[in-house]
């Protein structure tokens, strides 16, 4: 079975701990994205799975076998590198064929496999060219082809799309996803781009400072982030985070003081178990409903900068006490710079985070 299991994996580099007690299970055919900012340990984790780094503690189990002490060539894994790592002196065809040498296939079988993969990734026109004579997108596809031509235990991708321009990324996202779907292998993709993660992954593991903060489906991490960091990392424009004083609940509403203004906001039922004190309220830009009426359950603000985005409009607003707000409304709602806004929210879209940054949720 093509699976990956990391249990309590930790990696120290001298006095610095890059990966802290990471546990992860990837099942056959599942695509898990390691997502996070630079330096969060996602690449190190990937390299530990590959065998290019050795875990200081914890277990690495691939396809049911403990692989801690095995070298990369003994693990039967395929990896697509951030810099592609195409062999410069070999043609595209030879590059793709390279990992097959050790399998001892006869020439015909090998050639057939290469041809099949080349067709799948539209590399037929460049098969006899050298890597420095093909485009960036083609290089990326060759790197993928080299991985896919094998039958490895799992696939590992290190920032596969980071060097492509925006258009190409879109095309390649879809292409990689469709290639992977047919193959039923455990796949781990490392990326810092949330859009990539949201579109390609079955589950996303968001990492910060060597720790996985949340691992869940793309929808989960978007709609129900478990920590402040995840909430602010996922979603563009970024979620609005407001510090507030929590004052207890009234039915389905919580009483908060935000920015000096007392506000009643519809919240998740679990909030009533929260102790009074300082909290952070997170509201996504699209969760605001401008309500001309004002009232106790709205947040007041003044629009400062209007950015038309086509079907939607992004409004940069500011509360009376100076906090920034980002509001996204459908373009039918016309707002001008300087307009006063009263913003209502939806309970399902209002997240409350306690003093330690954990989400308060049922």
């Amino acid at each position: 079975m093509s699976t990956i299991e990391l249990t309590g994996v930790t990696k120290h580099f001298g006095g610095f701990t890059a990966v802290k007690n990471v546990s992860l299970a990837v099942s056959a055919g599942e695509v898990v994205c390691l997502l996070g900012p630079s330096g969060c340990g996602k690449t190190t984790t990937l390299r530990i799975i590959a065998g290019l780094e050795r875990a200081s503690a914890g277990d690495v189990v691939i396809a049911g076998k403990r692989m801690n002490d095995l070298r990369p060539d003994q693990r039967d894994i395929a990896m697509v590198f951030q810099f592609y790592a195409l062999y410069p002196a070999l043609t595209v065809r030879e590059n793709i064929m390279f990992p097959l040498h050790v399998e001892g296939l006869d020439a015909q079988t090998g050639a057939d496999r290469v041809a099949r993969v080349a067709r799948m990734l539209q590399l037929e026109p460049v098969l006899d060219r050298l890597p420095n004579h093909i485009s960036e997108g083609e290089k990326q596809r060759v790197a993928v082809a080299r991985a896919v031509v094998r039958d490895p235990n799992c696939f590992l991708f290190d920032e596969p799309l980071s060097r492509l321009d925006v258009e190409l990324r879109q095309t390649m996202r879809g292409q990689i996803k469709s290639v992977l779907t047919g193959l039923s292998k455990a796949t781990v993709i490392v990326t810092h781009d949330q859009l990539e993660a949201l579109t390609m992954a079955d589950r996303i593991a968001i990492m910060r400072d060597g720790v996985i903060e949340q691992i869940a489906s793309p929808h989960e991490v978007f709609a129900r982030p478990t920590t402040l960091f995840v909430a602010s990392f996922i979603g563009t424009p970024q979620m609005n985070l407001l510090t507030a004083q929590f004052d207890g609940v009234e039915g389905a509403h919580g009483r908060f003081t935000v920015d000096g203004q007392p506000i009643r906001l519809a919240v998740d039922p679990a909030v009533k178990r929260l102790a009074k004190g300082q909290v952070t309220i997170g509201i996504r830009p699209r969760a605001f409903i401008p309500d001309g009426a004002g009232g106790a359950d709205t947040i007041a603000g003044r629009a400062e900068l209007i950015e038309p985005m086509g079907a939607e409009t992004l409004i940069h607003a500011r509360t009376p006490l100076g906090s920034d707000l980002r509001v996204v409304v459908p373009r039918e709602i016309k707002v001008k710079s300087g307009d006063a806004l009263s913003l209502r929210t939806d309970a399902r879209e209002t997240h409350v985070f306690d003093g330690s940054g954990m989400a308060v949720r049922a």
Partner: protein
């Protein structure tokens, strides 16, 4: 004489050449060559030298004037080109001219034209072919040894390890010794009585070991000393190549489960191929010019077994005082070197198209 505008290309060649302009370097070149030939033929060497120099200077000035239109570039490049011209090109051309004359430096007689006689004499001299034979044997032996040893040393130093800096310096020291010291001390090492080599062999055979009195012995002696001195040079070049291979290529190869041997041929070798060819070229050319070490170690001996072509030229010029004959021979040597260089450049250019992009 104006320099503000170039002569348009449409003006016929002949007219361009005789135009009285400062940047008419083609005209100046013709004047220089003809004038120098006349001067050498008719004037005693001291005077012909100065006459030729004057004409050369004129030629150089026109070259500079030609480049002056490009202003900064010409200005920057001029001092270097002038020096090179004075000390390299000019003597070369002058001696090339001289090789067609009969001239002996220790006689005050003016040179007489002999055309290709010197060349014929040199090419027909069996001694010369014998020396060429010597030289080629020495070149093949020493260059092969240097390439192998240099390559192995480079492999050794291709990774970072503790104390690497200091050990590297140790290995580079042979290059830094003067030829005199190396020549003298290797004679000392090879000495049958108190040389280290003989003493080491004596431990096994009980007999003193005489290396330098046989033809092949002395050849090996020279080759060993020369290769010892210059293998570090090859090492430096190959090391530069080894170090430039991106590490992630080896990581990818490990993941692709590629064997070490194949890794070397497909990944490492393309990176060092160009540099090895370069090392090969440099060392081969230097080996052809082998003089200092042979002069000091064996002085061509035993007999003339290890006399190289360069040494022969020296002998003819300074011991037999057949100055112009020696220049003829020297030119043949130069010609060989140029042919080799061009061969190398041909191969290198072909490879450059296939070389790995950085």
């Amino acid at each position: 004489m104006t320099t503000t505008t170039d002569i348009p290309q449409s003006v016929p060649f002949f007219q361009r050449v005789i135009a009285l302009r400062w940047d008419n370097w083609q005209g100046a070149l013709i004047v220089f060559v003809i004038g120098m030939a006349l001067a050498i033929a008719s004037l005693p060497p001291q005077v012909s030298f100065w006459a030729s120099s004057a004409l050369a200077a004129l030629f150089a000035v026109t070259l500079i004037a030609n480049a002056w239109g490009k202003y900064i570039g010409g200005l920057l490049v001029t001092p270097a080109l002038t020096l090179l011209f004075l000390m390299n090109v000019f003597p070369l051309v002058w001696s090339f001219g001289l090789s067609f004359f009969s001239y002996k430096a220790n006689r005050a007689r003016a040179p007489t034209w002999v055309g290709l006689d010197n060349y014929a004499k040199v090419l027909g001299d069996p001694d010369v072919w014998d020396r060429l034979h010597n030289t080629i044997i020495l070149v093949i032996m020493t260059v092969s040894l240097q390439m192998v040893v240099g390559f192995l040393l480079a492999l050794l130093f291709s990774k970072q390890f503790p104390l690497r800096r200091y050990l590297l310096i140790l290995v580079l020291t042979p290059m830094m010794l003067s030829f005199v010291a190396v020549g003298a001390f290797f004679r000392y090492y090879y000495d049958p009585t108190f040389g280290l080599l003989s003493q080491a062999v004596r431990v096994f055979t009980g007999q003193p070991f005489i290396l330098m009195n046989t033809v092949w012995g002395s050849r090996i002696g020279i080759v060993f000393a020369d290769a010892w001195m210059w293998s570090p040079f090859v090492m430096l070049l190959v090391l530069a190549g080894l170090v430039s291979v991106p590490k992630y290529l080896y990581e990818a190869a490990a993941i692709d489960r590629v064997s070490g041997w194949r890794q070397f041929w497909s990944i490492t070798f393309p990176y060092i191929r160009g540099l090895m060819l370069l090392a090969l070229l440099f060392r081969t050319i230097e080996a052809f010019k082998l003089f200092d070490l042979v002069f000091l170690l064996t002085n061509g001996g035993p007999g003339t077994a290890t006399e190289t072509i360069a040494l022969r030229v020296y002998r003819i010029a300074f011991e037999n005082n057949k100055t112009s004959e020696s220049t003829a021979l020297a030119y043949i040597l130069l010609f060989t070197v140029i042919v080799l260089t061009n061969l190398y450049l041909y191969f290198a250019n072909r490879r450059a198209r296939e070389a790995p992009a950085s």
